[in-house]
Amino acid sequence: MFGYIVKRLLGAIPTMLLIMIAVFALIHIAPGGPFDNKRPMPAEVRANLNATYHLDEPLLVQFGYYLSGVVQGDFGPSYKFKEFTVTELIGQAFPVSLKLGISALIIALLVGVPAGMVAALKRDSLLDLVVMSTSMTGMVIPTFVLAPIMVMVFGVHLKWLPVAGWNHGALPNMVMPVIALSLPYVAYVARMTRGSTLEVLRSNYIRTAQAKGLPMRLVLFRHALKPALLPVVSFLGPAIAGIVVGSVVIERIFGLPGLGRYFVDGAINRDYTLVMGVSIFYAALLLLMNIVVDVAYTFLDPRVKLK
């Protein structure tokens, strides 16, 4: 187990390197630079700035500087927010994104799994129909359409919830962003759980469990639950990635001070180090989560061996 995790972490290094090269290349290919203000600045000042940030050196050398910093945990200073390092900015913003993402994921599982199971157990009933059609709707409406509608209805007209803002993560401020972020995942998890539950209920070992005279409660919770959840667990990896990306959109719509905002602002301002930092952070997070999910999977399915 420990060996497996070390192996996976080491295996992630080349991936990370490739991602860094790609992001570095892309942002430098994009026209403009971090100090292209609307007001032109004196040539000496610009030369000075470029020298401080090594922008006058060849790209490869710049990348070398950057890489050696990253290895030491230093993502460099932000070009835009000059009084902060990128590490500090990520440190401030990540808790916001994390709280948002984890809440959305928990809602997706807490609502999606039971809804899917109930739909499967009461197959073809009215309840099943309601779950299935609601989830279909939830899956096809894009977040950037749904979120503004929610803001209009619950924020502007009904005035039940704040229109935007974080307010230190107060519950009323969280409600709409979390719901908007989680909805497609609630829907997807519900459909997936329904499908896998139906399949498990048709399986031979459930027939065996019933032939043994086990009460329904045991048949469902001991024999059916775990196997029915396996596809959901596999889906968690991609779901985490999706929620991270989705939160970039949500954070902008609701004006939340999360990583997504820095990601977008950084790109617009050509804040090289900030974009690089946030991208690397996202990538590392995703790779890590995939390892966590793979390890978690083996606890559910003894047939899967880590190697």
Partner: protein, 328 residues
């Protein structure tokens, strides 16, 4: 002295399908007494499994059952589910063919065994574990202690089937239904498992139903046999007699298509043709289309199961009289 364990009367099993009603079991009577070992033989689709899934109350949700099934004098049809649950795995147990998929892949053998005792006998975890271990040893599983901690995929097919047998016998049931218990196993393992069945049923006095499509497999261990075709019993009697002098043309065909130890495999002959469509059962004898002896009468009138040779223990459903059958 021979107490009735299972009495089936006019059992019918039908399935609602988009194409119409499928009659998988179409009016069967069967009696099983203590100590009996009865073979149920027939081609694939003849209704063998559904008949006994109906006994267990485990039909698919589109299935419906009518008739009467009495286990130790208690009517099982339309019994409330919680009463059925108390009987299943306790008084009557059933084991299945595909051991890989019939055991829960994510639960240790110990869990799958001991839960039966916890539910039916109210045993504690430790008591149940001890009894489970004993049972694994009784079905001659090597290193039983270790097996308890293992998962099904870590066991061989033969061992998994022994686990299934052990699981079925935990509560000393009066009736054990084995649905093709050896079909998925290697030939050598097959013989071992059949020997085990024979030994256990003699030791424990449990009545056994052996479902198979291969008469040869159960010839040695069953005392009597019922041959099924298209949801009905077409011939019934003592195993030895039926094996030696089958009277129904279908049984004769089955025997010819059975590989026998004492004859080269090359002489195996499949019965030509297909079983009838259960959605639109023909009038008359269901075997007519495939029968070499079919007469006019066979097309108009369905033969009913009646005693053959003038003996109540031996019956067949065929218009052919005995003399003609003998001169096949």
């Amino acid at each position: 002295m021979n107490q009735a364990v299972l009495q089936i009367e006019n059992l019918r099993v039908t399935f609602n399908t988009p194409d119409g009603e499928v009659a998988a079991v179409n009016g069967i009577d069967l009696n099983i007494n203590t100590g009996d070992c009865v073979g149920i033989v027939g081609e694939s689709g003849s209704g063998k499994s559904q008949m006994f899934l109906a006994v267990m109350g485990l039909l698919a949700s589109n299935g419906a059952v009518s008739g009467s099934v009495c286990l130790m004098g208690q009517e099982l049809i339309d019994l409330p589910v919680n009463r059925l649950q108390a009987i299943r795995g306790n008084q009557v147990a059933m084991i299945f063919q595909d051991t890989m998929t019939s055991l829960a892949p994510h639960l240790r053998i110990e869990r799958q065994l001991s839960e039966v005792l916890e539910v039916h006998r109210g045993m504690s975890r430790t008591q149940a574990r001890a009894k489970s271990l004993e049972m694994l040893q009784a079905v001659r599983i090597p290193e039983a202690e270790k097996r308890l901690r293992q998962y099904p995929h870590e066991l061989s097919g033969g061992m998994r089937q022994r686990v299934m047998i052990a699981m079925a016998l935990l509560c000393d049931p009066q009736l054990l239904i084995a649905d093709e218990p050896t079909t998925a196993l290697d030939v050598t393992v097959q013989a071992d498992v059949l020997d085990l069945f024979d030994e256990l049923r003699r030791e424990l006095g449990v009545a056994v139903v052996m479902i198979t499509h291969d008469l040869g497999v159960v010839a040695d261990i069953c005392d009597s046999v019922a041959v099924m075709y298209a949801g009905r019993v077409v011939e019934q009697g003592a195993m030895r007699e039926i094996f030696q002098s089958p009277q129904h043309p279908y049984t004769q065909g089955l025997l010819r298509s059975t590989p026998r130890v004492d004859s080269p495999v090359a002489t195996m002959v499949e019965i030509p043709g297909q079983p009838p469509n259960l959605l639109a059962m023909p009038e008359g004898c269901a075997f007519r289309e495939r029968c070499a002896y079919a007469m006019d009468l066979c097309a108009s009138q369905r033969p009913s199961l009646a005693s053959a040779d003038g003996r109540p223990q031996r019956s067949k459903a065929c218009h052919l009289n005995q003399l003609e059958a003998m001169s096949r």
